[in-house]
């Protein structure tokens, strides 16, 4: 056995940070590289949801045979596909964190030089990859099966995507914070929490349909403004910049709040000595 001295390299400061983020991403990507069931699982639900609502839209169109029915079908499919962006972004981030917990690897990760914000950056990057892997095939199949082209929303679609992803990350950071606080008991939130917000996000109907008392609550969600904006584009061909601006501002508030909660719960987990035993 011989230990050789390796040359020390002094890279610029951003490079070690990028490498640490890539290191954690590599850990997750290596899993997907070999496992087609994992890849399939990413695409399964978005495609299934798209099919159910696609057939529903087709049924409405054939029964009613009118332009409003076709419009309603487009609204349903757009709503489903864009909601999946939020859902997959949130789940992609939360589940990547849970993967570390399930493999009892957090003890090693947290004693490495990986900073907590770098871990969050890696989880966000994984969330984008997982979301695109799941949602893009569903978008393409919607075009192939139902001649519905989500990209017909135009360049504003990118801004919708960005807002929906940021909100997904904010909710995911909240879930991770709760897992840090309550351990494995908070795991189910990773799958279910966003479904509780869907009725208030006005995915398939305008906010005005909600009871008056719930409308202010709905308007605190960035997703509500995105879906209102989506309907404005599809129904009137206009981009509602006011809704987009509201979505961005609300997202800033949500993500800042989630970041503070995460930082606090991470510190508290270190105080309680929970980082080594979390998930057990």
């Amino acid at each position: 056995m011989k230990i050789r001295s390796l040359p020390m390299v002094q890279p610029p400061q951003w490079q070690p940070m990028a490498r640490r983020i890539w290191g954690l991403m590599y850990r997750h990507l290596a899993l997907y590289r070999r496992s087609w069931p994992r890849l399939l699982e990413l695409m399964y639900w978005p495609i299934l949801q798209m099919c159910i609502w696609g057939f529903t839209a087709r049924f409405l169109a054939t029964r009613m045979g009118s332009n409003p029915a076709i419009m309603a079908g487009g609204l349903l499919l757009s709503g489903v596909l864009l909601w999946e962006v939020t859902l997959r972004s949130q789940m992609g981030m939360s589940i990547s964190f849970l993967e570390e917990m399930w493999s009892r690897n957090l003890g090693h990760v947290f004693v490495s030089p990986l900073r907590p914000f770098e871990m969050v950056a890696a989880l966000i990057a994984m969330s984008v990859i997982r979301m695109l892997t799941g949602v893009l095939p569903a978008i393409l199949l919607a075009w192939a099966f139902y001649a519905f082209n989500l990209f017909s929303l135009g360049p504003v679609l990118v801004l919708f995507f960005v807002n929906l992803m940021i909100f997904g990350w904010a909710i995911a950071l909240g879930v991770v914070s709760l897992v840090l606080r309550h351990g494995a008991g908070a795991e189910p939130l990773a799958w279910g929490i966003l479904f509780g917000l869907a009725p208030f996000s006005a995915v398939f109907y305008p906010v005005s349909v909600l009871p008056a008392a719930l409308q202010p609550l709905a308007l605190t969600l960035p997703t509500t403004h995105v879906f209102e904006g989506m309907r404005a584009v599809l129904m009137h061909g206009t981009v509602r910049w006011d809704h987009l601006a509201a979505a961005f501002v609300l997202n800033l508030v949500w993500i800042a709040g989630a970041a503070v909660l995460f930082a606090w719960q991470f510190h508290q987990a270190r105080v309680r000595g929970a980082l080594m035993s979390i998930g057990e």
Binding site: I3, R19, A30, N105, V109, F110, M276
Partner: protein, 246 residues
């Protein structure tokens, strides 16, 4: 030069005092053993040294860095191994080592993995999932992970727990050689008295979160009038006998 300095370290969980005002130093290049029964505070102390647990009070300095203010600068130059913290079991050994190579910003990572594979006899298992390895193989992989960044300070929590004598001896031999060639500082928590006697220059005896004795293995043996550290350990654990000399 002290690689590790611990001053008045306290960790309290509500009404439980896990670590009670302990202090010690580990000189650069030295190997110090933390000895004590279950619940003595060994793992909590190591976790505080790694920044995993925030002390209630006290101060920890590693390689000149205050762990309360500048822990990441120290963590880049440290590493840790414990049989109680796993590596992702679906990743292969090579992938696991690559992950940690990136996290520790190891230059020439493939060369480093090849060196560790040769030195720790991992060549045959490099491309096997970590979850399919035997306990001995897992320990060697965990050791490889803990050496991936050629740490200046290595914290080992029961590094040979659950190993057969042959594998345990191989790990201890490797640690001796690594220390001799690299000048690494090692803090070792163990229940294995023979291991502590063989590897450690200094031993710190913990009981109920307090340092109850310390010294070289020979000093402790002489102080308690015993032939081996196991009897010293039992004397302290069971309050059987006081040290025969101050």
């Amino acid at each position: 030069m002290e690689a590790i300095q611990v001053e008045h370290l306290v960790k309290r969980y509500d009404s439980v005092l896990a670590v009670d005002d302990i202090g010690f130093t580990v000189p650069a290049g030295g190997t110090v053993g933390l000895l004590g029964g279950n619940g003595a505070g060994k793992t909590t102390t190591i976790a505080m040294l790694l920044g995993l647990i925030v002390p209630t009070s006290g101060r920890i300095t590693v390689l000149g860095h205050d762990m309360a203010k500048d822990r990441f600068a120290a963590l880049e130059r440290m590493n840790f191994s414990s049989p109680y913290v796993a590596l992702p079991h679906r990743l292969t050994v090579r992938e696991n080592l690559r992950v940690y190579g990136h996290l520790y910003n190891v230059a020439h990572l493939d060369d480093r993995i090849a060196t560790l594979a040769r030195d720790l006899d991992l060549g045959q298992i490099l491309d096997r999932p970590a979850g399919q390895l035997s306990a001995g193989q897992k320990t060697r992989v965990a050791l490889a992970k803990s050496l991936i960044n050629q740490p200046e300070v290595l914290l080992l929590d029961e590094p040979t727990a659950s190993l057969d004598p042959d594998t345990g001896d191989m790990v201890r031999t490797w640690l001796e050689q690594y220390r001799a060639q690299s000048g690494c500082t090692i803090l070792l928590a163990s229940h294995n008295m023979a291991e502590v006697e063989r590897l450690c220059h200094q031993v710190i005896m913990l009981k109920q979160g307090r340092v109850v004795d310390r010294g070289t293995p020979d000093e402790l043996l002489a102080r308690y009038g015993r032939q081996d550290l196991e009897d010293v350990f039992l004397d302290i654990a069971r309050d059987r006998r006081q040290a025969v000399a101050a």
